[in-house]
């Protein structure tokens, strides 16, 4: 039982990360019809921004050694700047292009970031020790959990709350929702299209920065492709949840995280290597039953 509960918390913690990544991807898809595969590389940038740019094998912490109250906003700011620059230099010139064009452009951005990191920081993965205090375990009624798991879940819930309050009540949030539903109509009503899109990139940058810190604190390893699997799983989560639906992205993220963790824990050892195959089989089954995802976006359904 204790073992199972521990697995549940692990699952929720992994699910939180996927949910945060999926939210970042889902937000841009909702407004721009852009499937942003570079989102994972925003995460990579957030993680690398902590250390001194050099090809040395040993990572030298710069920002990473600052107090967390300074570190977090600075990393957020860096990722937000990168995300918004991506919009200005890549996606804004492609504003009237089709969704596949945008997606391919996001692959280009992704490769540019990966190889840029390669050039600046070298090809070897680097070990980084971020917030090691968080890996200490706390005991809650027989459960022994690293503090980090709880921080991850808490951060995710906090960010989702702030984001839903923002989307629900802030004037910019309402404009974002309107633009996500009918972009041209929002513009006809005076909503500044480029501003709203820039805002969406900024929010997705903040989400990516949060993931990069939580993920790095967990794994302790930097690599120029560290964000790719996160983005891939999160994309799957977005599809499972329902393209264009933010609650769907969150549910999908948690679901994929939970399924992956549980498979890892309960599959016979011989089959564990094929864990991801089982995860994706599950995804296929979900999509066969609900092709539009678990929580389909109303605005997209109406357009079809």
């Amino acid at each position: 039982m204790i073992n199972f509960l521990q697995n549940v918390i692990d699952a929720l913690s992994l699910g939180s990360l996927y949910a945060l990544v999926a939210l970042g991807i889902g937000l841009l898809f909702g407004i721009l019809r852009l499937v942003n595969f570079a989102h994972g590389d925003f995460i990579t940038i957030g993680a690398y921004s902590l250390i001194l740019p050099s090809t040395n094998v040993v990572a030298t912490m710069v920002i990473g050694s600052w107090h967390w109250a300074v570190l977090i906003p600075v990393v957020c700011a860096i990722v937000v700047v990168v995300a918004m620059a991506t919009d200005v230099f890549v996606f804004r010139p492609l504003r009237r292009s089709s969704a596949p064009t945008l997606m391919i452009a996001s692959f280009a951005v992704s490769y540019m970031i990966q190889n840029g990191v390669l050039m600046m920081y070298g090809a070897r993965p680097k070990a980084v020790n971020l917030w090691s205090a968080l890996t200490t375990q706390v005991t809650i009624g027989g459960l022994r959990e690293p503090v980090l798991q709880i921080v991850t879940i808490g951060t995710t819930i906090g960010l989702m709350l702030v984001m839903s309050l923002f989307l629900k009540h802030a004037r910019w949030g309402v404009q974002m929702r309107a633009a996500a539903e009918d972009f041209l109509m929002a513009q006809y009503l005076g909503v500044r299209g480029n501003f709203v899109i820039g805002l969406a990139f900024a929010v997705s940058g903040i989400l990516a920065a949060a993931v990069s810190l939580l993920f790095l604190a967990q794994t302790g390893a930097l690599s120029n492709v560290m964000g790719v699997p996160l983005a891939l799983f999160a994309f799957v989560a977005v599809v499972v949840g329902g393209m264009g639906s933010l609650p769907g992205a969150v549910v999908g993220g948690f679901l994929v995280g939970i399924v992956t963790t549980m498979l890892q824990a309960y599959l016979p050892p011989d089959l564990r290597v094929f864990r991801d195959a089982f995860t994706f089989t599950f995804v296929i089954v979900v999509l066969l039953v609900r092709p539009a995802g678990l929580i389909p976006s109303r605005s997209i359904a109406e357009r079809v």
């Binding site: 004037r171 404009q175 513009q187 009503l189 909503v191």
Partner: protein, 253 residues
């Protein structure tokens, strides 16, 4: 009279398809002008071109003396020109109140926006009842009211309404037109309205343009066109009678 809105030789293409071929029309301050024509004639494209929703290939569109930019819908909205599009296009997942607020965000301050919300709600008591309901759940008539109310929130001087009667019961259509007339009286609005059929239009439009094949075929005051024969001819393209009626401003086909 200098026209409030003037289109001259406007041409719009979608790929190789020519949607507007040298269309010209004028709307004067305080007028109700109707653009009527069959499906696919270019009515909606005309409004989209004015509102900045499509790229303009050639020609000029001037509003209160300034040339409107193509493809800049949010800037055009700020000049006091608002579009109520065909099919309403309410934001279905947003509440009625949120839909209206969207239009008010570009007003200079929150207090003015709140006052506008109050005033607009006054015109549409039905909407007030559904204030917190998602707009997607409203009936077609209510959505049309919401779409008009939302346009009003942007503080426009000229409102373009694209096929307000589309898909609505005749009784509801009457209500919609009554409200449009009331808005002209009380808010001093100028109106440009698209319709497919002319009989209702003749009752309250000041002037009428008949559009077919992306160009104006006929135009005149509602009085001049009262008997409807000329309109019928222009609408369906019986060349002979077009010449007699009114003064066609576009090139006749």
């Amino acid at each position: 009279m200098t026209a409030m809105l003037a289109l001259a030789d406007v041409e719009v293409r979608y790929g190789r398809l020519v949607a507007l071929r040298g269309l010209s029309l004028e709307v004067g301050q305080g007028e109700i002008v109707c653009l009527i024509g069959p499906n696919g004639a270019g009515k909606s494209t005309t409004m989209a071109a004015i509102a900045g929703g499509v790229a303009r290939v050639a020609g000029s569109i001037r509003f209160e003396g300034t040339e409107l930019p193509a493809r800049k819908p949010e800037r055009i909205a700020r000049l006091g020109l608002s579009l109520v599009p065909e099919g309403r296009h309410v934001f279905g997942t947003l509440t009625v109140e949120e839909n209206l607020r969207i239009g008010g965000y570009m007003r200079p301050n929150a207090r003015e926006s709140a006052a506008a919300l109050e005033r607009v709600a006054g015109y549409f008591p039905k909407l007030k009842e559904r204030w917190r309901a998602p707009a997607g759940r409203l009936s077609g008539g209510e959505q049309q009211m919401l779409s008009i109310g939302r346009a009003l929130m942007t503080n426009p001087r000229l409102v373009m309404v694209d096929e307000p009667s589309l898909g609505l019961a005749p009784l509801i259509v009457d209500t919609v037109y009554e409200i449009l007339l009331e808005l002209r009286e009380r808010e001093g609005l100028t109106l440009l309205i698209n319709e497919q059929s002319s009989h209702r239009i003749l009752r309250f439009a000041d002037r009428i343009y008949v559009i077919r094949n992306g160009a104006i075929q006929l135009h005149g005051t509602a009085d001049e066109l009262r008997d409807g024969e000329a309109i019928k001819a222009a609408y369906f393209g019986f060349g002979a009678s077009v010449a007699q009626a009114g003064a066609p401003s576009g090139a006749a086909a």
